[in-house]
Amino acid sequence: MPFIPHTEKEVKEMLDAIGVSSIEDLFDEIPPELKAVSIDAVPSTQSEMDVSRLMMERAEEDGRQLSFIGAGAYEHHIPAAVWELTTRGEFYTAYTPYQAEASQGTLQLLYEYQTMMSRLNGLDVSNASLYDGASGLAEAVLMAVRANRKSKSKKILMPKTVHPHYRKTVEAIVNKQDIKLEILDYDATGGHLSPEQLPQSPGDFAALVIPQPNFFGVMEDVDMLTDWAHSHGALVIAVVNPIALALLQPPGEWGENGADIACGEGQPLGIPLSSGGPYYGFMCCKQALVRQMPGRIIGKTLDMDGKPGYTLTLQAREQHIRRSKATSNICTNQGLMITASTIHMAILGAHGLEEAAATSNENTNTLIDKLTALPGVEKVFERPVFHEAVLKFDTPLKDVLRALNAQNLIGGYSLEDEYPELDNALLVCATETKTQADIDTYVNHLERILSKQETVKCPVSPKI
């Protein structure tokens, strides 16, 4: 039966060797009152064939739309080689590399990943992943509070232009340790954190979080912000999009001294959208902060013969050694996602990432231009964007989105819930996966919907 290799004969031999007469005897230390278990609500075993069919039918229902949402998760082309290699059994079914000598494949790959990430971010060191971008930011906040020697404050300045889900996640994770997030508003014209939004006398605070691009797709004045925070003795936590980093100034080079910690969502680097996960959070920092960094770190060393090899290092920060004094409770991380991202970056190279970034930027600008050419659609913020932008509609947005959905098209992410001040505002994104024809499809559907034309109700062939 599924996955149990024992023959009846073997079971008998094993029971004899143990000296019991049935498997049930092996559970004799469990108080008998506890054992009257029924798990009848669990369905009966099904063959792989039947489950396959069920799953294919379910997958068929999902994810087949032409979609213009970004908002923290981005559709990018992933070369076929990436996941064919990543799901090789040797990567896929290994555990955390506790036995370094038997895990050089994963360990060397992680070391290569750390190198790639620290280069992309312009910082000295990288860890080997956190759960996702949002929880990674929470870890960065905790780290900054621990690491900032100049400040005893538990206050963090958090712009409203940081992804709302990130802010919620950070709040949920750090609030039990009395850390306070002070929210900074954004500039209504630029959609960014302008000098006017910065507190005049901020007092002691541990760190300023700077998103680049921010949740509205808008580019922040990272040099000014970094220098401002540093001038107040605070650390700077950058939250960045790794594809954007192919083109944009890396956090390590922001302002005079660079951001101290950079983190973000790794998903754009070769990880499928997959309804939100598994993704991974990346984190880099300056060398001086490395011992405060949470998560696994791989180091290069030598073996008994003087040959180079790779191993988990700085484990004294971690929960399995430090227990209640650890830098974080993280244990299982997102290793396989790193495997994919590393292979993805190796195949694309800097040029490939630059191309994806630049094309996404162009496509988004084209989309914005074409959509705002329609009557009743306007761009909300003035500042340049990376690959997302906020549009405002003069009709009820919900109806518009629903009408687009009926055409198997997802128009973007509505900001109404998270930014009530931005009513009927939509965050749209067009990565390099969108063709001119896709953009025109959007524009044409929207034009028809806005002009209240009858939409044709025949099923549109779905986008794959």
Binding site: M14, P31, Y95, E101, T115, P250, T301, D303, T339
Partner: protein
């Protein structure tokens, strides 16, 4: 050789130059001055490099991997291929519910199945791993006490055998941790527990079966002791594999539990992760569950968010945790069904007890010789270390030479020179016997030629690595010479 060492500048803009677009709409001052310095290799070079690297790993697909506490069992391939169907992979997390009924149906049914097998009232799937589940669980305990106005409960009790994530998670929730000793028979020392439990006690974090490989026989007494003091009971579900379908944490009196789906539900560990650490709760903790969850309203599935659950401890990640891992666990659960789940605990327990009995016969010392093994058990090499000068690590490294991944070493911390051995139910008897024979052989080597152990491994891509050097002369990123 590193991928960087195969890089050649200009490889990608050599023959048939790539069109290089420098994001012309982005003002210059935002742009980076230098390219990011990623390797420039051909696709063949990348494929060959990472294929060869992969071959340097031990993994379940290639080796017996009895890593205690980690449940390294067969990861059915169908779980992977079905979770990676294009419809699932391409779905954006913020895509409207109408375009996610397939994945939501799977998640909803998984919630229901996990409720049933744990005996809990409700389940949230969002935690990304066991440790995040622990955090969520302890945060709910705190939220519960806070909701009761009971803010004096600042202390969490954790047995010394517990995994390091337990105290670390409690601390992240603002608690101080007090250790409870393990008695010599492997159960929690109930007398000690009784001494320290009190009005300051927010809860007890217990792993049962515990990390020393036994089922705590006093669980009911422990449970009532803590409950009577007003504390809540947290269940670390890392060892659920041992009791799946046999005993349920809910029936033992636990208020909150996390499960490691990457252990009991056989989603792959992927060289470190991802996992998934769903939490289940009793009725009184249900309002505090982390969001999002999936609800089924008549015909349709929909997400439950902060709006639906005003008392939620909140969100632990930007979207829905490790959905793809949850899909793998769902497929696994459907393949097993209830019959298969019961077999998981039965045969993992059979394998562990068989190995324990045989190892004893071969002259190894068991940490708890008078106890049943659960799905894992502990051998201690204290005697060998003393008599032969070969420690547990030497045995572990020598095992690698013979093509076995080593069991967990030096955990739990309270047992000196220990090996925590977890064969899992998917390994056949011949493999267990081969491992046992090899251990016997290594024991003989330790007696006759201890250098063979101390210098091990001999046959792997590298010899024994210098961990001290790694930490002292930090080299965390490659630099061109």
């Amino acid at each position: 050789m590193l991928i960087f060492e195969q890089s050649k500048a200009g490889r990608k803009d050599g023959p048939g130059k790539r069109k290089k677009k420098q994001g012309s709409a982005i003002p210059k001052n935002f742009l980076r001055k230098q390219s990011a310095g990623l390797p420039e290799v051909s696709e063949l070079q990348a494929v060959r490099h990472y294929t060869r690297l992969s071959q340097k790993n031990f993994s379940i697909d290639t080796h017996f991997y009895p890593l205690g506490s980690c449940t390294m069992k067969y990861n059915p391939r169908a779980c992977n291929s079905l979770a990676m169907l294009p419809g699932f992979l391409n779905r954006h997390p913020l895509s409207p519910d109408m375009f996610g009924q397939g994945v939501m149906a799977c998640l909803y049914e998984l919630q229901e199945m996990l409720k049933e097998v744990t005996g809990m009232n409700a389940v949230s799937l969002t935690p990304a791993a066991g440790a995040q589940g622990e955090f969520a669980g302890m945060a709910m305990i705190r939220a519960y006490h806070d909701a009761q106005g009971d803010t004096a409960r600042t202390e969490v009790l954790v047995p010394d055998a517990a995994h390091g994530t337990n105290p670390a998670s409690a601390v992240m929730c603002g608690y101080t941790v007090r250790e409870i000793p393990t008695s010599s028979n492997g159960d929690v020392d109930v007398d000690e527990l009784k001494k320290v439990v009190g009005p300051q006690t927010a809860g007890l974090m217990l792993t049962n079966p515990s990390t020393v490989g036994v089922f705590d026989r006093n669980i009911q007494e422990i449970s009532s002791t803590v409950h009577k003091a007003g504390g809540l009971l947290y269940y670390d579900g890392a060892n659920l594999n041992a009791i799946l379908g046999k005993v349920r944490p809910g029936d033992m009196g636990f208020d909150v539990i996390h499960m490691n789906l990457h252990k009991t539900f056989s989603t792959p560990h992927g060289g470190g992760g991802p996992g998934a650490g769903p939490v289940g709760v009793s009725e009184r903790l249900t309002p505090f569950l982390p969001v999002p969850m999936v609800a089924h309203d008549g015909d349709e599935y929909r997400w439950l968010t902060e709006k639906d659950c005003p008392q939620t401890i909140g969100r632990l990640s930007a979207f829905m945790g490790n959905t793809g891992v949850l899909l793998r666990a769902y497929v696994y659960a459907r393949l097993l069904g209830k019959e298969g789940m019961i077999r998981v605990s039965e045969y993992s327990t059979l394998n562990a007890n068989y190995m324990m009995a045989e190892m004893k016969k071969k002259g190894f010392d068991l940490a708890y010789p008078d106890r049943r093994a659960t799905h894992e058990f502990i051998v201690t090499m204290k005697r060998q270390a003393k008599e032969l000068g070969t420690n547990t690590m030497d045995f572990a490294k020598r095992l690698l030479d013979y093509g076995f991944h080593a069991p967990t070493t030096y955990f739990p911390l309270l047992i000196p020179e220990c090996l925590l051995i977890e064969p899992t139910e998917t390994e056949d008897k011949d493999t267990l016997d081969a491992f046992i024979d090899t251990m016997e052989k290594i024991l003989k080597e330790a007696q006759e030629n201890p250098e063979q152990l101390k210098d091990a491994p001999h046959t792997l891509p590298v010899r024994r690595l210098d961990d001290v050097r790694a930490a002292r002369e930090l080299d965390l990123a490659w630099k061109a010479e």
